[in-house]
Assembly symmetry: C2
């Protein structure tokens, strides 16, 4: 057995079920191993940002790492933007990056570059000196590392950079899986301090993120809120929230800093569960970066790497909140509106037609705007843009569909973001994934128009305007989708939009709707 085969079998035995691949010549022995180990499913993407984004979507839905298979430094580089998003989501991922053997590095062949340095931007675990002897064990370590919560992360990205000689050389065989790491339990004193704040009678907001924002954690937080009257809130862009009718009612932090400050006005205790102090997404000259009202005390119940769910359990017991009944989102009687594709109509159509247990992936403004109205619609899982790098929605939707073949996935994409990683559609077509993609075709980077105005620039010159405008020419998304094998249609009215969404939910496989707005 060569190193490649031992590695792939080790990972498959540990529980890696999926490899998102875009291999090259230096990874041929790994391809051979994937061919020999069919229990790890191999899925090809035509661009590495699709591989890494899909691994993120898969990891958010399963809690387990998928593997990626990438071709040296440039292949890894193409995947970094979505690895950045995955890092901010705390998603476990194992990157397998092929490399030249050490004996070849000194010749500076065209594909030679410093891959370790690239990996350092997003990885918590890197190894690049494997031999055929160590490769399988290195794979076992890489797997464990993805599930080890460390300061700043609840799960993480391992990058195993392996020379072709480690893959082709003789291996001592498959390595045993390590134990699964456990999160640290928070101290009772910490819980007590938070409990006293909640009992103080002063205005409290509990901010729930990562392990503090799972369905089970939100349920506990809902009881605590019912018992003490505190507000509960998720971050602006949670990696995953299970919501919709019947789920715990929870606020969501706004986007712009002035809106966050307004929302927190008068709050005396800000209690962090699994996340960080609220901060502005971007820096401005006129608003602060740290978004905590004056006179407000910040308490950390659980850091991102700690067991936030256990902390909420301890807190609920301490407050005797276990019998309290959380407020829940209720299903509204949503009708399909008539007429124009204005934002209000579009969002209402999405909510009114939302299928049961849908997974929504979005990296667009309109997609985020759909979240509140969908809380009164069918139960759903919402996957947001965690790291601010657009081009994530479509790959994440692809990975979520690979993880959950029995659930429909709805990708709500801006046209600007969709253009980054449009190759996702091809993988959706090949694998016949149940993904409905909506492209909000407004023909602009609309957020930049807004941000430019916030600078106080009221007169947008022609060059600036051209850099915010992605019309001229207009992309025909319906045609683009068909060219990659995904059937598609265009919605010009709310009724058409509803009909197309409903049709897509009833038919297996991918479908794309160009929503003219």
């Amino acid at each position: 057995m060569n190193g490649a085969r031992a590695l792939i079998e080790t990972l498959a035995n540990a529980g890696v079920e999926l490899c998102l691949a875009n291999p090259g010549t230096s990874e041929m022995h790994l391809v051979q191993a994937l061919d020999q180990v069919p229990k790890m499913r191999s899925v090809l993407a035509l661009f590495e940002g699709v591989c890494t984004g899909a691994a993120d979507g898969y990891g958010r839905m399963t809690g387990k790492p998928a593997a990626t298979l990438l071709h040296l430094g440039p292949g890894l580089a193409n995947g970094i933007a979505n690895l950045h998003n995955a890092r901010k989501a705390g998603t476990p991922i194992i990157n397998l990056v092929g490399n030249h053997p050490q004996f070849h590095m000194g010749y500076d062949a065209p594909l030679t570059s410093d891959i370790d340095t690239l990996a350092r931007n997003f990885s918590c675990w890197i190894k690049s000196c494997s031999t055929a002897d160590t490769l399988a064990q290195d794979g076992a370590e890489a797997y464990t590392a993805t599930l080890r919560a460390t300061p700043g992360s609840q799960g993480q990205i391992s990058t195993l950079i392996l020379g072709a000689d480690a893959a082709w050389g003789d291996s001592p065989g498959v390595a045993k899986a390590n134990g699964i790491p456990r999160r640290a339990v928070v101290d009772a004193a910490n819980v007590e301090a938070v409990a006293q704040a909640l009992e103080s009678g002063e205005k409290c907001v509990v901010v729930l993120e990562h392990d503090g924002a799972t369905a089970a954690s939100l349920e506990l937080a809902g009881r605590i809120s019912a018992k003490t009257g505190c507000r509960i809130m998720t971050g602006t862009f949670p990696a995953r929230i299970d919501g919709g009718a019947g789920s715990t009612a929870v606020e969501r932090m706004p986007y712009f800093p002035e809106h966050i400050l307004a929302s927190l006005e008068g709050v005396r205790h800000l209690i962090l569960v699994g996340g960080q102090i609220p901060a502005s997404f971007f820096a401005y000259q006129t608003t602060p970066s740290r978004l905590v009202p004056e006179g407000c005390e910040v308490h950390t119940l659980a850091r991102i790497e700690e067991d936030a769910n256990n902390a909420l359990q301890q807190l609920s017991e301490r407050l005797a909140a276990d019998q309290a009944t959380p407020a829940r989102f209720e299903r509204a009687d949503l009708s399909i509106p008539n007429g124009d594709m204005n934002t209000r109509n579009m969002l209402q159509v999405i909510a009114a037609t939302l299928p049961e247990n849908v997974i929504v992936a979005t990296d667009s403004g309109a997609g985020n705007a759909a979240h509140p109205v969908c809380q009164t619609a069918a139960p759903n899982t919402w996957l947001s843009l965690t790291g601010g790098s657009i081009g994530q929605g479509s790959p994440v939707a692809t990975g979520a569909a690979l993880a959950c073949p029995d659930r429909r996935v709805l990708a709500l994409l801006g046209d600007g973001g969709a253009a980054y990683t449009i190759q996702s559609l091809w993988t959706q077509a090949r694998e016949q994934l149940n993904v409905t993609t909506v492209i909000f075709a407004n023909r602009k980077y609309n957020i930049l128009n807004i941000e430019y105005g916030r600078l106080g620039v009221t007169d947008v010159g022609p060059i600036a305007a051209s850099l915010f405008d992605i019309g001229n020419p207009d992309i025909d998304w319906e045609m683009l989708s068909k060219s990659m094998g995904v059937p598609s249609a265009t919605a010009n009215t709310a009724e058409e939009f509803a009909r197309l969404l409903q049709r897509s939910y009833q038919e297996p496989g991918p479908f794309l709707i160009q929503a003219m707005c």
Copy 2:
């Protein structure tokens, strides 16, 4: 004047004529400055790999750096694969990467990451601590650094990572351009040693790369060859070669290591001018990495960072070769073949229809195969894939067309490579660039089938086969092109292919041909 304006004016004054941009919120002041300084042309791309690849194409054609404008770490990451190719080409480029201000970094906002680390993979000059006071001067330094040849590079990539506060703060004003660095002249003793080898009567091969492979350098090498009988050869993937009828006849190094060794059999002196010792593109178990025949002495006339042209001048004088007449490629009477789109017919069609002074950009096997036959066709400039990262041909073609609006550009792309950076087409449509794109639609990563066979694997299993196959579904390139605003057609026969090429050469603006093969 704020820092952003001072920076952009400084760069424009130094000679930066083009900015390839994909900005975000942290770059709004730079957008405002671009709006105010129209003499630097701003061109939008929908994906950063198009920006960096186009900067590479522009730099190869002009010898001058273009600027890119990129959005924090993820925006830079998306551009790295083509920056890797540009680094191997020795192309000067200035990356302007927006960042949060220092005061915002500690809050770990979603787009925060270690950008310096990413930049280290490909940059020879990095600065990330600019203030509004220093920004314009830092821009002047970044410009100079791109033109400074350093060990391993004949030109280089500068990355200026600038906090938004440096852009929005008050600047002392525009900075003066520095002097342009000059290359080191090689020592006469070095020239003498090479001259003696060439006069030894033993078999000699001169390998010409980078500054040793400009039209002027090839002319000198051709005289030396005519005088001494040595063979002259370019590298396998030169950044730029001016060739075709009337240009100096020069061999091109083959791709596979066994072919390089066969080509160099019996050679006693290998003379390097502007390049490196021939090495295998990938490492194999059965062939060496260093491709120098036994008993062959390696001489370095000029290293990549030295003045190779001057070295060849010195050598030509020492050998009294100035009056010798180089062998030249002659125009063949190329007829348009009939029938199938087999490789031989396709290449002959390309050569037979080649317009005068065309620029050819290619990152595909078929594109490379077209090079020899095009040497007997119209004069042309050939831009190859220097760093092995596919997805480079279309962006480089875009940048070459921006640099040379009076010349037709022909992009010869594999379907696998084209899928990486297909967003180039949109920029070509917006800017109405004179680019003819040919997609060799063979529906596979064909090189991987070949390389897999070279491993001795004769039986390709279904999983491996699926990872080399980019059919299922077939991408409809004609439709994809139209969806991005580039008119297109499909060629099913050699006659159709010729007719479509000729039509595209006669009409301004971009055109795409799906070549079914």
